[in-house]
Amino acid sequence: MRAIKFLLQKEFRQIFRNRSILAMILVMPVMQLIILPLAANYEVKNINLSVVDHDHSSYSQKMITKIISSGYFRLTGYNRSYGEAFHLIESDEADVILEIPDGFERNLIREDEQKLLVAVNAINGVKANLGGAYLASIIRDYNQEIRIDFLQNNRFNVIPTIDVTSSNWFNPNLNYQVYMVPGILAVLVTMIGGFLTALNIVKEKEAGTIEQINVTPIRKHHFILGKLIPFWVLGNIVFTIGLLVAWLIYGIIPVGSLALLYGFVSIYLLAVLGLGLLVSTFCETQQQAMFIMFFFMMIFILLGGLFTAIDSMPEWAQVVTRFNPVSYLITVMRMVILKGSTFQDVAPHLGIIALFAIGLNGWAIVNYKKAS
């Protein structure tokens, strides 16, 4: 115990002396939590729309007005031909073309049916998808209005329609910030726990200080604990700062229990610390450690359900996410913070993370012993 005490003393002294690490620990969570959720928004706005109106009727005018007034579209072109409009797509000035055929109003009234052409620039997949969908839904709406106009003389709706009204639970306004903040917080905790531990241990290897320590009575497990405890504490501090930022800036107050959140993060940190330790046993230089950790972080983040839902990933990717500790933390954070899940709800996740912690640390220790 005495050995661990002065190892911790030394470690904290070094951490507090290293300005860039300190800044990273304090400033990074605040900056990232303030900037990223605002930027990482799935709602697509400012879709550039080019209209080719061959009809010039009051109906077509009304429809265009309705589309523009939805707020999602920006009319950047009003062209005479499709070819002209397509030039706008080619020069990236337009994302979507809406072509209204000649005799739109006349045919609509006379034949009760009309076709429109929507052409979407699919270079930016998300924008194209959502833009097309928004446009389709506005036109559908518009269609509905016209029908009501036609049928207003009838006392009853002759065509039975089912109107679906949805309400969003746990995030009523579909506010993306509420969804992103817990996820980003999860990534931050992982960065501090995994990255810093790996780099710190490899730094001692690089400087040769680990050898100097090895020729002293300090035991291996003392040394490892002396490395893991400071970063475990730092991880918890970053998590606390993150929760405060979420509360002060986004007004997000965890619905579930704070104790459960901290409990989960504590065990989760053991798992990522184990990963950092494991990586450090394979590396001789900080550069190597950096690249290996970066490789893992990229996979963890992209296959962690932070930006894209795991359920919509292909089968094989879903299998990969099961081996991704970050995905469990992101899920649990969202469950507890937004939904108020209880211990029973997150117990399976907790179990898996505990297995990760045991597995990674065990492997790291075996490997660490072998190396010497």
Partner: protein
């Protein structure tokens, strides 16, 4: 049982303390190519002795140090440090030895005082307790004690490293190339410090590639390519030099070396500082004979003198033996 005990005339029980270091056929092989870094090396260091491993880079000195300090497992043979087996009892060894690696390995982001204090607490002691050991060295550092170790000059770093290796009053001190890359004045100072430590009855094993430092040791082992060529006191090694050695100088040194290299009366010749050192096949040669031989070969301003061989001459001789 180790070779040493079997050969010694004293019965083991009468020895109060075991020798500081006993290496017995210590072997280390590296990598897939099976490069033998240390090839069945055996030597013994008595208590309170200043023992030097002398040899060029790649002779295997650092590998021996790392094995004796329990950082590296030997691939063959065995060794005892302080009577403890380097493989089985490595924990005990780590309590009692001090190790100063060739490369500066203290925490650059901690100050002098913090580094020293850290290594003192690691060994469960305090700076005050063993201050007398490091006093001579530490007074030179004390002014800078709040400066970070990474910001010190080379000589200061080396003094701090020595303090840190000494602070727990080790029984055996391992110094791996402590003077490599250090200026001549600091090197001299450093060896004087070692002499004073010897008076404190600390056994010191030191390695160096500088042959001129060999004479400062009690006993030395000359090493080359993982093997020991000779072990003895520096004087005895010099005395055992079998030939008569001449230092020769002429106006045109490259031409002189060429003449010496091709002459069939010359046994060995090599450049040595501003002279050429040479031995001759027959001992009938007087200085005058050599001068006339060289004059005949067209040399001017010839100076020939018979000299005492240095350790380096002995080393070169042993290499060609």
């Amino acid at each position: 049982m180790l070779q040493y005990y079997m050969n010694t005339t004293e019965p083991m029980s009468t020895r109060i303390t075991p020798p500081a270091i006993v290496a017995d056929n210590l072997t280390k092989v590296y990598g897939a190519e099976k490069t033998t870094a240390v090839n069945a090396v055996s030597f013994m260091v008595e208590r309170g002795e200043l023992f030097g491993l002398i040899g060029p880079d790649g002779a295997g000195k650092t590998s021996i140090f790392r094995m004796l300090t329990t950082l590296l497992l030997p691939d063959g043979g065995n060794a005892l440090v302080d009577g403890h087996d380097i493989v089985k009892d490595y924990q005990q060894i780590r309590h009692t030895v001090g190790y100063m690696p060739g490369k500066f390995s203290l925490y650059p982001d901690l100050t002098i005082a913090e580094n020293l204090n850290f290594f003192a607490t690691v060994f469960n002691t305090t700076i005050e307790e063993n201050y007398h050991l490091i006093k001579d060295i530490y007074v030179q550092l004390e002014r800078f004690k709040d400066r970070r170790a990474g910001k010190l000059s080379g000589g200061m770093k080396q003094k701090l490293a020595l303090c840190c290796a000494l602070i727990h009053k080790p029984t055996v001190l391992f110094l791996d190339e402590p003077t490599t890359g250090v200026d001549p004045v600091s090197r001299k100072e450093f060896w004087e410090m070692l002499k004073r430590l010897k008076e404190q009855n600390i056994t010191i094993l030191v390695s160096t590639p500088y042959m001129d430092e060999a004479t400062l040791c009690d006993r030395i082992a000359l090493m080359q390519q993982g093997s020991i060529l000779a072990i003895d006191t520096p004087d005895a090694i010099i005395k055992s030099y079998p030939d008569i050695l001449y230092a020769i100088r002429a106006e045109k040194m490259p031409a002189l070396l060429k003449v010496l290299g091709t002459s069939n009366t010359v046994a060995t010749s090599y450049a040595f500082g501003e002279y050429a050192h040479a031995t001759f096949k027959e001992h009938i040669h007087q200085e005058q004979d050599i001068v006339s031989m060289l004059q005949y070969a067209g040399m001017d301003n010839i100076e020939v003198k018979r000299i005492q061989p240095t350790i380096e001459d002995c080393f070169i001789k042993l290499l060609h033996a």
